[in-house]
Symmetry: D2
Subunit: 346 residues, 4 copies
């Protein structure tokens, strides 16, 4: 930890800070410059650092406090040394193969879901997405089919050989959702819902943690750390766009975060170009860019008739468009040394 | 609702959109311009509008869909016509008087809390703040004293004649917190935790809803609408800063939102200059600006010894500083025609 | 300067960085922690620091470089010790009195300008604003009356006893504008137009430097440093809102920056609530908040008939509204110990 | 144009707005809804629309004004119908081939520049980049070699068969820079320096317009429109990252803008992953993503010894790294049906 003292601060203030640091178990090393004094502090107890920084920042004469070790542990790259591969009932995420997740934004009916599931499975998708419990900005939006939707997802997955991912929003429904889904999705609005993070940390079902729309990369990794610290290390991250001033796209999909995460964490990273752009015509190009930048998978909203989708039709592609996209992604995957399974098997 | 069609879209597309609008119960009125066609649609069912916009945006040939009625109802200014005044056990919020809420970021001990409570009460504060359950970016930070902290808050409030506000983070603890607190605070990270919003909507305890750090004003009002739609209309809003690119302050306190809300909603608005700036030296000037802009109250972090606060010492002021600030705020309140009760009564 | 080395970096890397620092004239002081090494460096030549940070950041094994002295000098608080007061032909800016600048966004005609000037002068304004050369997002917008507008401004100022401020956008017109105006305004889009900053640095006419809509406080002060380093120290800053995700207001007026600047710089600070909010109804409350937070003056767009203004009518108030606002601001000024001259003299 | 009136506005207000629209040459078509009235207006003079919107927004009773035609013309996709291909002395930009621009951030010496030029040319680059006049946040940074640097660039280009791109910052140096460079670069800080845009609009040298770090896509296209309206239609755009809250990267490279531009404009689009990320290790992955998303070229900072670069070493790659990147990009280019010329010739 580095404590930067204000210019003109007195000896007493340097002494007070140093003493407090020593109380906290640090070895203290002040550097007296011409204009400013800087105090280097090494040691200290791992778990108390975050709070110590907070405290010292308020001290008289302190200008800034800089923590030089990463505040997360279980999700850090160093913890594993190599990338994690999650085994979702035989589907590997984080390995050589790029995994496709596809399906409707919202489960609307058996027909809609089963038709989509059948065709995306044939096109090469491995995981079926679909919302049963939906987080909605407005209380007057359709909030999803709930348990009925979960049952349809499980049955569609079983019938077409797909694993299932769906969002869990309620701490009291984690168990219920885990009964029907293979992956629990934590949505962007809940990335810092610590109550929910702790609850899925207690689960043994894999979790996909979406980036908060305003979360810094470090905050996102700390949210993942909550889940890991709870005992569930089967975590993948999902970049889904951040909020910026640009109104043309719904969010700004931050692909540099995908590249950055590969040096910060061992967790696999998925990209959601549907939420990330909010525009149907940008999904294909951003999917290709995601594969090129190193994503381990994509999650795409696909609907048999997006113009009649209950939700998010504007960011859903048709099943045909999904089928057409697959060989394009396969070509990029090949160009970056990854594997990608397309309808060949059909 | 206005549907803007893309330049060069065909008659068929205008027809399809119009037909769908009629199915949804709208009266349709297309305007054919030289470059573009625009479809005006009036009527439609109140609660289906939000989803309809979403759907139509994805239609072939549609460039944009603009909803021209506000998507919220119970919290809209028009619903009441005049400003709401909340009665918190005799303390009125939203009336002529500007109400001060003060206390430590985190309840640390009986001594710390009681000393603070006693002195802020004498200085004119009406409501005691203090965190018992704390939302922390890191799982390794101190997470609060929990139930023990709630008991101390209630006792301190009772002893010094203060009402109590504290954060509730867990849907399963809403009842417990409501037993000890007079106002339930929903924190910035939970502004879109709809599970929690619905739960406090079931409660009859007043709620203070903090603005999400990345929430647009409309999203904030829609979050309040969740609570109101659940049956709890005793809501106040709290501006606490938004996330921007500026690193000097922890957040950017958006005082124009406070002014804007006075024409959009009947709900009272509180300002939190501690969270809003993250810097002790900015609390006094931003408190004064908040009163000048029309806030109904302030919530300020006060600590007997901020340099030893467990959390957020950097944004807490000393009790002395709080006492000194009070007459300054009283002067501003007078200048804008509001009342403000200072230690005079003591 | 603090150089934070990456975890696991070798001795050679620490040596390379240390050697380079010594070449640059620093005294080097490495601190070896358990996880990381940190190098403290004191001394170094003032003017080379900014570039040195840039260079070292790219070194192998370097994680971060932190400059602990402020990168600006002439505009820093310490340079003067106390606040600067600018004397604009007898109107003092930065002293006890809060100075009002008012006038139309754009000079449109003699009638419009003279009517406005006469009445804002009577209401207590000291400085007349008005655009002669206008920066426009679109090349098809009205670009201002140019020289003709400058002449009208000077004449209106002379006749009604007002000093004149107007924007200069072209390096080749600095002299021309300085001939007619008492203060040169640098607009938000030109805050980092270094060519123009150097040009006005050569002038002896006072300058008002508006904050770039995306400028951090430090970048803003560095832009002011360009002007000061050129020899023109008669500078005032103008907060006019920053760009954020919030669409309700045109910009987010950052009043905490005004408070922050009082500890960072000796320069006076003006607030522009017209540009800052883009909404007529927010100008009065944000003006009051600006005075409360410590602004040295306000610059407000006033138009005899905003509904027919060529530009920015939406953020202009009527002359009547300006007259009504003045006593309100006087009351706030009194409450914060500042003076404010209203129509009393009339 | 659509004018949305406020709920509860009276007939007189609708009449006033309608009358004003008719004065401006519009055909007016009001739609009276239950809650609100909306006025559709078609026609109007092309060049007056932008100002008309501005005016009407301030009218009494007006809630919002929405312009439904694009405010730019020459740079719009529709103007050409197909993508433009710029011929830079035989190097085609915007055609099938992806063009590489490479070179040091700043021209430092003949040795540094010539060594870099020779090797990037051999590796397949077609255009040499290098700063002679540098825009610097601090007045104390090295501001570039100026004319001397321009001469070196021209000579290096001539010797190694490269075209030259360099930044022009000063309106009075456009001619000088155009004498030595094949492409004039307008930097991010000058994207809305209209004085400079008009000046390069008078030139016949091609221009690369970088996106302002805070510019919306529409504003960027309007800035390009300034150049085109001045008579110079040889324009390419360069995405170089926008400013967001994320501190890990220097900017957030917005690749969705690259995809979006392909439907909005006929101009070629280049990506700058060096400025866009500010981190050496992210340049390769983001370059690959840029090619995948549809960029027409890349501009990359390459330095023989980035650790000793005067500027931006942190975001420069070594010549070796550049050579290694080229075949990777070639593979991606092939996967998206583009051509890419690599060292084959060597």
């Amino acid at each position: 930890m580095i404590i930067v003292m204000k210019g003109g601060c007195g000896e007493q203030q340097v002494h007070d800070v140093s003493q407090r640091l020593e109380e906290l178990g640090y070895v203290v090393n002040p550097i007296f410059g011409v204009e400013k004094t800087v105090i280097g502090a090494v040691g200290g107890k791992e778990h108390e650092k975050v709070d110590a920084v907070d405290q010292l920042r308020g001290y008289d004469g302190v200008e800034d406090v800089i923590l030089i070790t990463k505040p997360y542990k279980f999700v850090a790259k160093e913890y594993r040394g190599k990338k994690s591969v999650l085994d979702i009932g035989g589907v590997l995420i984080g390995g050589d193969e790029i995994v496709m997740m596809a399906g409707p934004c919202t489960v609307e009916s058996e027909d809609q879901l089963f038709l989509t599931a059948e065709r995306v499975a044939k096109a090469g998708a491995k995981i079926l997405r679909g919302g049963a419990y939906k987080p909605c900005t407005s209380p007057y939006s359709f909030q999803g089919m709930g348990l009925e939707g979960l049952k349809l997802l499980k049955e569609a997955g079983r019938r077409y050989g797909l694993k299932v991912i769906t969002e869990v929003m309620h701490v009291r429904k984690v168990e219920e959702v885990a009964e029907y889904a293979d992956i629990l999705q934590i949505g962007t609005r809940n990335m810092q819902n610590y109550d929910l993070l702790r609850e899925v940390g207690q689960s043994r079902t894999p979790v996909m943690l979406k980036r908060g729309m305003t979360a810094k990369i470090e905050e996102w990794l700390l949210a993942a750390e909550y889940i890991a610290a709870g005992g569930n290390e089967k975590i993948m991250l999902c970049e889904r766009g951040i909020r910026t001033f640009e109104p043309y796209t719904r969010n700004t999909l931050d692909l540099s975060a995908v590249a950055a995460l590969s040096s910060l964490t061992h967790l696999p990273v998925i990209v959601d170009p549907s939420q990330g752009t909010g525009r149907r015509d940008l999904i294909a190009p951003m999917s290709k860019a995601s594969v090129a930048v190193g994503a381990d998978g994509l999650i795409i909203e696909v609907h048999p008739n997006p113009d009649h989708a209950i939700k998010d039709g504007a960011q859903s592609i048709t099943i045909d468009a999904f089928e057409n996209l697959m060989p394009e992604l396969e070509a990029i995957a090949g160009a970056v040394g990854r594997t990608f399974k397309t309808p060949a098997a059909v």
